[in-house]
């Protein structure tokens, strides 16, 4: 009894080592030259990548009311989104946006595995574009391997030189495109052409240039294997219900080369061991070994396998999007029977409604009023009581506004002093000014009287803000 459980435990640990002995870990010793094959998923991937990243390149050049439509103006601490300006005061919404992004990633992954990795991720997209250039210049994978092994020649220098030049151009464009989300795009280009960028601009551009060039040009799938945390996070997000590109072991095994004439010595599965699925894989995994970290679920092996199945006259789908439940013969459950996904969707909805609330309740103006605390009040020569207030107004509109200051509550007969000429509030930042409130001493009957201040635009009274404060007076015994 005791021996048995011990050997079982030993077995569990040692299998890791056994597996390790037969497992090939891709440490990047060999460049993976994946074959490019047309197919459904190839087309989908082309479109999804462009759909997400073309706006990244073009978005900053969009103008709105003479200004950049979407601008994360870090220097002036504001975020412009068309006619909306978000100031740091409203940055709590950013946390909801991040929460929503994370939960969307989780929800999608729990339903359809690493959709992000395979179809949208910048590492996937840029690597895809880089290898596309490589394919166009150096030829197909076989030609590329040959060129790599060939001795240095004029032809090799020409091809490699052109490739790296184009890679660098794309890397530079990536750096520029990133930068212009944070400063005015046209000004940036002007400064760049005149080599007149600020120091931080050069640092960012250099980092993105080298980052893109190295990550997409050289590291490629190594980034997914050994750098990317999301690869691992998403790995644990999928379960037996998640559909993912998988090899149908029951149908495929035992695999073996297709024999002419069909005279098989032993019964054979549908897999003809043609290695097309491995050759097209951008991360170089063999999907037939099962789900693994290296698989970014891009579906390119499905295209390859389907093409082969068509050729040998077998039904498609030897490698297909399927859940582990389906392979083990369990009843596939509906999405609404997947509580984890529903929890993710619930969190997404909460975050989304928070953002909607935030955006619709931004307000064009905020007001803070700080009563002077030393002294709390001053007795004037005519016996009236005067309080001093510091007004801090944040004007979120895009123009300077003169405001009217008024108060509700407080002491009867009070006079507001300091706003006879409407104070100006500067757009996009805080403005502070001093306001005095003077009230007849006889009417000040309590130590603290609540008072609500209000500022509103002279021209547009809908631009307004209120703040509750207090009016201090002497103690009454």
């Amino acid at each position: 009894m005791n021996d048995e459980s011990e050997s079982k435990e030993m077995g569990a640990v040692t299998t890791i080592y056994h597996e390790f002995e037969s497992w090939h870990a891709n440490l990047g010793e060999k460049t993976i030259h994946a074959k490019r094959m047309p197919g459904f998923f190839r087309t989908v991937k082309n479109y999804t990548q462009l759909a997400l990243w073309l706006p990244f390149f073009l978005g900053p050049y969009l103008r709105w009311n003479g200004k950049q439509a979407i601008l994360f103006d870090i220097q002036n601490r504001q975020f412009h989104f068309f006619s909306l300006t978000v100031l740091p005061q409203d940055i709590w919404m950013l946390s909801l946006v991040l929460l929503m992004a994370a939960m969307t990633l989780f929800a999608v992954t729990s339903v359809a595995s690493r959709v992000w990795c395979g179809y949208f991720c910048f590492q996937t997209a840029w690597t895809d574009w880089f290898t596309w250039l490589e394919d166009k210049i150096e030829g197909n994978p076989a030609a590329r391997r040959k060129l790599d092994d060939a001795p240095l020649s004029l032809d090799k220098i020409k091809k490699k030189g052109l490739k790296h030049a184009l890679w660098m151009a794309l890397a530079l464009l990536t750096g520029i495109s990133f930068s212009v989300w944070f400063v005015d795009a046209y000004t940036y280009w002007d400064n760049l052409i005149h080599l007149n960028l600020p120091k931080v601009g050069w640092v960012v551009l250099t980092m993105f240039f080298f980052g893109t060039y190295i990550l997409a040009g050289f590291l490629r799938e190594q980034a997914c294997f050994w750098l990317c945390p999301y690869a691992r996070i998403q790995g644990v997000m999928s379960d037996a219900q998640t559909i993912l590109p998988a090899y149908d072991v029951k149908r495929g095994e035992p695999r073996g080369k297709l024999r002419k004439g069909g005279g098989a010595a032993a019964p054979q599965g549908d897999c003809i061991d043609c290695f097309q699925c491995v050759q097209v894989c951008p991360t170089g995994v063999d999907i037939r070994e099962g789900q693994q970290l290296g698989c970014i679920t891009c579906g390119l092996c499905l295209d390859a396998c389907d093409a082969v199945m068509d050729k040998i006259g077998k039904p498609r789908g030897l490698i297909r999007y399927a859940s582990l439940d389906e392979f083990s013969g369990k009843q596939a459950r509906k999405i609404y029977q997947h509580p984890r996904t529903l929890v993710y969707v619930g969190i997404i909805l909460v975050a989304l409604s928070g953002i909607v609330y935030g955006l619709t309740h931004l307000g064009a103006m905020t007001l803070r009023v700080i009563p002077d605390r030393q002294p709390l009040f001053v007795t004037m020569s005519d016996g009236s009581i005067q309080n001093k207030y510091e007004f801090k107004v944040v004007n979120k509109t895009d123009k300077d506004i003169h405001v009217k200051v008024s108060a509700e509550g407080g002491v009867s007969g009070q006079v507001i002093i300091g706003a006879e000429e409407p104070p100006i509030t500067h757009h996009g930042r805080g403005t502070s000014f001093t306001i005095f409130v003077k009230a007849p001493g006889a009417n000040v009957t309590q130590e603290i009287t609540p008072i609500e201040f209000r500022v509103e635009g002279i021209e547009d009274p809908t631009v307004s803000a209120e703040y509750n404060s207090k009016f201090n007076g002497p103690k009454h015994e």
């Binding site: 002294p375 001053v378 004037m380 020569s381 001093k388 006879e420 001093t434």
Partner: protein, 305 residues
């Protein structure tokens, strides 16, 4: 696991754990060794560049070849602040206090930067934020936040007060007036403040005091209307703000012993900040504007609504 390893030709350290675990004598990776070497070089360069050896010798201590000092760094940081202030300070120099007050940007600068000046030079007597200080005899220095000014609340008046200082004068009346007369006049003065002059004049209970006030030398300084004269700094006796002490005892004391006139007199002295030489002209101008903006400053031309 087997005791063979497939990396033949690589020696182990010779230590064996758990029967078969050995340790290769492989070199650490090259990038790691480069990092280690670079860190060591960095340490040496750092120690040479900065003053790092806290042992003194005949020439002081090792100052580092880079010439870095904390004072220099602080001065460099300060110069950033000075640069920001510089453009305002340069403007202030040639402007009158009234002109500064007319410029809202400069006024803003002065009200923000004047706090330190006020705290260092004025707050000792006038209190933080000009709330006044009280000693056992009453108010030691005037409250600067109200709208009652002995010498005028216009910007130039305030400026003149700071430049030249002020010294209050009131003759003692003990001996000149009888105790009863002092008591009477004190009651009248108190009534003027509390009820207003018109009511006090009509109030028969303080008629004796009124008689003393009108017939002795009180009106010479405080005026027949008892509103004081800013030219000589005599107090307005009809308002609610008291220079020293508004209690009956306090008023009697002021009447009896005067101001700045002998051992028991009240003290009301403000030094000349120009003569003291501690403050520059620009700083005095800044203080004038700062005090004006406390809330009691009086416009040269009354603001019309």
């Amino acid at each position: 696991m087997s005791d063979k390893h497939d990396a033949s030709g690589v020696t182990t350290t010779g230590h064996v754990w758990d029967d078969d675990l050995g340790d290769f004598t492989n070199q650490p990776p090259k990038w790691w060794m480069l990092g280690l070497t670079a860190s060591a070089i960095w340490c040496v360069v750092y120690c040479l560049f900065y003053p790092s050896i806290p042992v003194s010798n005949a020439h002081g201590f090792f100052k580092g070849i880079g010439g870095w000092t904390a004072i220099n760094e602080m001065e460099a940081d300060k110069s950033v602040v000075d640069e920001v202030r510089g453009k305002y300070e340069a403007k202030l120099k040639d402007m009158t206090p009234a002109a500064i007050l007319a410029d809202s940007e400069l006024t803003e600068y002065v009200t923000r930067s004047g706090k330190v000046l006020f705290g260092d030079n004025c707050a000792a007597c006038h209190g933080t934020n000009g709330v006044g200080t009280v000693d056992k005899q009453g108010l030691f220095a005037p409250i600067l936040r109200d709208d009652d000014w002995l010498y005028g609340g216009k910007i130039d008046d305030i400026h003149t007060s700071i430049v030249g200082g002020r010294q209050g004068v009131m003759t003692p009346h003990k001996g000149v007036l009888s105790d009863q007369q002092i008591d009477d006049v004190a009651q009248y003065v108190k009534a003027m403040s509390e009820e207003g002059k018109d009511k006090a004049d009509a109030d028969s209970t303080v008629a004796a005091g009124k008689k003393v006030f009108m017939e002795s030398d009180c009106t010479a300084c405080h005026g027949a209307d008892a509103k004081g004269m800013q030219a000589m700094g005599s107090a307005n006796l009809t308002d609610k703000v008291w220079r020293f002490d508004g209690s009956l005892e306090g008023i009697k004391r002021t009447v009896a012993y005067g101001v700045n006139a002998g051992p028991d007199a009240r003290i009301a002295v403000m030094p000349s900040f120009k003569a003291a030489g501690k403050l520059s002209d620009a700083e005095i101008k800044k203080l004038a504007v700062y005090v004006y903006k406390f809330g009691g400053g009086q416009a040269d031309v009354p603001v019309t609504k």
